[in-house]
């Protein structure tokens, strides 16, 4: 590989990893609070379409991103109302949210099919990114950097702040947190809302940067990869970043290697890799139940009704 190829490969990789990282960060926070929201794909699609619609109507990609966050957040609040307010089954409700998201985004998006919009575009002036090596560092849009900064912020929040500790307590032992006076449902609602906003933003990364258009099922299953990634990272933000870039590298490497004429692995195997890796991690966790932090939050997926 020449250096130009490496630069291009690295940039495609970072951009492929960004939406997965954004969505899985949000899901990680929700799961840390004990809520399993399988509706990531649906929330991403709703974010993608609201972001695109807003960007088309206002002409601003950043306003589009904001609208996408609100769209994903609104969808997640429906989920929160059902699972937290009415104690419905989280798995079933999450799946329903994905199905709903596919349909709703298609409905909202129908008038926008065939339209285009300006990309979010690079954050730094082009002059800074002229040299190929500098481009790898300075050549991206805001969301690539934003996703990494958010990962660091989430990691710090969960580990070093009091609200982060409360959030983890709610996810590990809802009854204990409740008995010392924390509102389990309020904390969980906030966590789910954060997850929704992040999934919405991740969706907007498709419709406003990667493929600036609206088409049905635009995200093509990336939400499921984001869900798998949270498990793969064993609920740790640092590993989440590594995992997102690793998954991004696998997806990008497949295409670049084939374009260059190397068949590494059959494409079906490569498509399976993120999920195979997740199963491997799950197996490792259950075989060697090491430190507590490596395992799932204890109350993940359980309903809680304050008595």
């Amino acid at each position: 590989m020449t250096s130009a190829l490496l630069v291009s490969f690295a940039m495609t990789l970072a951009m492929a990893a960004t939406p997965i990282l954004l969505a899985s960060l949000g899901e990680l926070v929700a799961e840390k609070a004990g809520v399993l929201n399988l509706g990531v794909e649906g929330m991403m699609l709703i974010g993608a379409v609201t972001g695109f619609a807003a960007a088309t109507l206002t002409g601003s990609a950043y306003l589009g991103c904001l609208a996408a966050i609100l769209g994903g957040l609104a969808a997640s609040l429906v989920f929160a109302g059902l699972t937290l307010g009415l104690s419905s089954n989280q798995v079933a409700t999450g799946l329903a949210l994905t199905i709903f998201g596919v349909g709703a985004s298609s409905l909202i998006g129908a008038p926008f099919v065939g339209k285009t919009v300006a990309r979010i575009g690079p954050l730094f002036p082009a002059a800074l990114a002229e040299h190929p090596l500098l481009r790898v560092v300075f050549g991206y849009d805001l969301l690539v950097y934003g996703a990494l900064a958010l990962a660091a912020a989430v990691g710090w929040f969960l580990k070093h702040t009091r609200p982060g500790l409360i959030l983890r307590a709610v996810g590990e032992s809802d009854t204990s947190a409740h008995s010392i006076g924390y509102s389990v449902l309020a904390v969980r609602t906030a966590a789910v809302a954060f997850g929704g906003g992040m999934a919405g933003l991740a969706g907007a990364y498709f419709s406003l940067e990667l493929t600036p258009m609206w088409a049905d099922r635009l995200t093509a299953g990336r939400g499921w990869i984001a869900l798998a990634l949270v498990v793969f990272a064993s609920w740790r933000p640092g590993r989440l970043v590594a995992g997102a870039y690793l998954f991004g590298a696998v997806m990008t490497l497949e295409l670049h290697a084939k374009a260059a004429g190397f068949g590494l692995l059959p494409p079906e195997i490569l498509a399976m890799l993120p999920y195979l890796a997740t199963i491997a991690v799950l197996t490792l966790i259950s075989v060697r139940p090491g430190r507590v932090s490596a395992a799932a939050p204890a109350c993940l997926g359980k309903s809680f009704s304050p008595a």
Binding site: T12, D216, A220, H256, A259, E268
Partner: protein, 359 residues
């Protein structure tokens, strides 16, 4: 999963229809003919499924109250399709169009169980008394694209984003490459298999990977405009697929192969209404209007337009077949002798590539 909502809606609709008093045979002249469509992708894909849905709407526009069409989108190829086909048939549809290659076995199985329903299967090869097949000669359009690519590629290398190596895709790659090599004998086509019909982000990444490998012109046999957008972003050129995709890439699109199923769908619906429907095998092309070329992009110079038009006119006149010998395969072995053309049967089973294809 994506189609569960639509399928449930359909089921509810079917139950509702069953509850209504059924019109007897005597009243059938007044009752609208039910026509069902089953799609592999979303109607909003702006590609393959979109084109079929345009054809469905053309039926409604042509026949008005005499027909009632319905469709189910996002149906996975395989056993799922069988259930949807049965539901469409039990929902009162007399004529059913199955619009993807992978619906072939389910269609044939359901047709065997329901001899009084007429089935039309796109791009397949299995027929029965109540199963017709139809396809369009997209490879004719690919030859026009190849001619333009041969003239306009500076690196002499095109990138071809392809879905699955089925004959339909193989013959398209071949027609494109052969036409380009008539202009530039050293022309190469790099094929990148993405193993999906529709995944915009992956198609865009594939386009970037091909551009990085020196391809300066892109074409695709996947359904989204994403590769064309990638070409636009890098200041390169490409060809649209299934629809005119100019809005997505106003500078990059040189032309597009536009699928037009409306003439066939209207013809077959008329036959069904007249009671003259028969199982046939139809393969229409540029001549019949099933395949059209979108207007040339501004970047196509006058002389190239003339050359492309000439190829198109010769194909329509029947004086040029895009797969005419001598054709050597990738190993250099002569597969089609000088002056011979590949028969439709050979085309529909094609599993080898001509020289110049890197796959």
């Amino acid at each position: 999963m994506a189609s569960i909502i639509t399928r449930r809606t359909l089921l509810a609709g079917a139950a509702g229809a069953a509850a209504l008093p059924l019109a007897g045979p005597g009243a059938s002249a007044q009752a609208p003919l039910g026509i069902g469509f089953i799609y592999v992708g979303p109607t909003g894909d702006y590609g393959w499924t979109h084109a079929h849905d345009v054809g469905r709407k053309a039926i409604e526009a042509e026949f008005g109250p005499k027909v009632k069409t319905s469709f189910v989108e996002n149906v996975a190829e395989g056993p799922d399709a069988e259930r949807v086909l049965r539901q469409l048939a039990s929902g009162g549809n007399k004529l059913i169009f199955a619009t993807s290659f992978g619906f072939m076995n389910p269609t044939v199985r359901v047709a065997r169980a329901l001899p009084n329903t007429w089935f039309e299967h796109a791009t397949g090869y299995q027929r029965a008394a109540n199963v017709a097949t139809y396809n369009a000669r997209f490879y004719e359009g690919r030859a026009v694209c190849g001619t333009i690519a041969g003239h306009m590629s500076k690196t002499g290398t095109a990138g071809y984003i392809a879905s699955f190596p089925i004959p339909e895709v193989v013959m398209g790659i071949s027609a494109f490459t052969l036409a380009a090599r008539k202009i530039n004998p050293n022309f190469k086509t790099k094929v990148l298999w993405v193993s999906t019909w529709y995944d915009p982000a992956k198609e865009a990444d594939a386009a970037k990977a091909l551009i990085d490998q020196g391809c300066d012109i892109l074409t695709q046999h996947t359904d989204s405009p994403a590769p064309l957008q990638a070409a636009e972003q890098r200041g390169l050129f490409g060809f649209g697929q299934a629809s005119d995709m100019k809005t997505y890439a106003p500078k990059a699109q040189l032309t597009s192969i536009v699928d037009d199923w409306a003439p066939y769908y209207i013809r077959r619906t008329k036959m069904a209404l007249d009671g003259t429907w028969k199982s046939t095998d139809t393969w229409d092309g540029l001549k019949e209007g099933a395949v059209r070329m979108a207007p040339y992009g501004d970047a196509v110079p006058e002389n190239v337009r003339r050359e492309a038009d000439l190829v198109k006119d010769q194909i329509i006149a029947g004086t040029l077949h895009p797969l005419t010998g001598p054709i050597k395969d990738q190993k250099g072995e002569l597969r089609v002798k000088d002056g011979e053309t590949m028969s439709d049967e050979a085309l529909s089973k094609m599993d080898w590539y001509p020289e110049g294809v890197q796959s």
